[in-house]
Symmetry: C2
Subunit: 199 residues, 2 copies
DNA sequence: CAACCTATATACCGCCCGGTATGAAATGTT
DNA sequence: AACATTTCATACCGGGCGGTATATAGGTTG
């Protein structure tokens, strides 16, 4: 159905290549991921990469899009849980599965990118921080709804509770990247949930 | 009192230079901190740096020692609080003061270093992770004592609670480095303390 | 067939990295 | 005054970085 490709057809699948690039960025961070590593993992040469993805920064942003779409899909689902506690529970289990599973690199790509990016890659930092803020805003909104529905005691502020939860999520990702095992982090999540106020 | 210095005396104060290096590492991370930045901030030339501190890695570890001694001193003090809740409170306020104060770079040098270090600087990662583990072990021990003293309900596991607290602490440092303001983080800390079990 | 277009492969660019060789300057010792 | 010792300033090293120029290979279109 594509209107008849002109010229030599490319020999690689951009989606697969992008997925490989994502793994590299996820493992090493934006700056530490070198073009040599990227091209080798993607199985293509540098000119092909530049022709297809632009440059390193553009490649990273596309990888970040893929990451959010595939790996952070649990976030959208989590907000649909019936209670605030259910939301927190799903967010925690989703984060644990994503950030210390077997098949993928440990830790959160977003955290890795904001923490590891020096002034050079400010645009990356800013981008990730903006995306994170919008995620947190969604959680806040959901918790305000939960308060209205009686899930949360009036004594707790939905925004602060959301901030506390995202803080734990980010802390978990730091620990996961530092080599903490799933059992340990599951224990942390359980403990936090045990402290949770309301339904 | 030093036994009569032979040769040309050095023209800089190693302690001040190390403090300047610490600021650079703290702001940029180990790998992103270049020798050019370091020497400029320290006010010395590269040969002087290498003669006095060895190499970049040795310089970093000395800076890390200084960081723990000066900036993480609140940790030791916190463990002396009379109750488990008091320990948590002091750890949180100390972390907030250290990681999003006005005079120092935001975020935790340890978190920055472990997250941002690629495979190259594995020795750095390992070192920081080890130091962090020993800190957490101290908190666990203190919470076991707290349980014995009745500060904590028997239903909560001291180790898990400690893990949860350090997770929050690390999450706070990620947020601080991401530009979160002190009020917001204070709100997070307050919320977490409000959920705290026991005295 | 040739003409044309696009992806590939190779080799290369300027730049900055961590680290160092070299020689001059500044002190104490004799 | 002459020397030994240590620090300082400059210039330099090989190597890896992100990015690209050039030429060739592999297709579709006339």
């Amino acid at each position: 159905m594509p209107p008849a490709a002109r010229g030599r057809p490319r020999e690689f699948d951009p989606d697969e290549a992008l997925a490989a690039a994502l793994r590299v960025f996820w493992t090493r961070g934006y700056e530490a991921a070198s073009m040599a590593e990227l091209t080798e993992a993607m199985g293509i040469t540098k000119p092909s990469l530049y022709a297809c993805f632009g440059n390193k920064e553009a490649l990273f942003k596309k990888a970040l899009d893929l990451y959010e779409r595939d790996k952070l899909a649990y976030m959208g689902k989590a907000l649909e849980a019936p209670t605030a506690r259910g939301v927190a529970e799903r967010l925690l289990t989703g984060a644990l599965a994503t950030h210390c599973g077997e098949s993928d690199p440990h830790g959160c790509l977003g955290v890795i990118s904001t923490v590891a990016c020096s002034t050079e890659a400010d645009s990356i930092r800013a981008d990730v921080i903006k995306r994170r803020a919008s995620s947190e805003a969604a959680v806040i909104k959901r918790f305000e709804q939960a308060r209205d529905e009686g899930d949360l005691p009036d004594s707790v502020c939905p925004a602060k509770l959301a901030g506390c939860l995202t803080t734990v999520l980010q802390g978990l990702s730091v620990k996961a990247q530092g080599g903490a095992g799933p059992e340990e982090l599951q224990g942390t999540a359980d403990t936090f949930l045990a402290m949770w106020p309301g339904r």
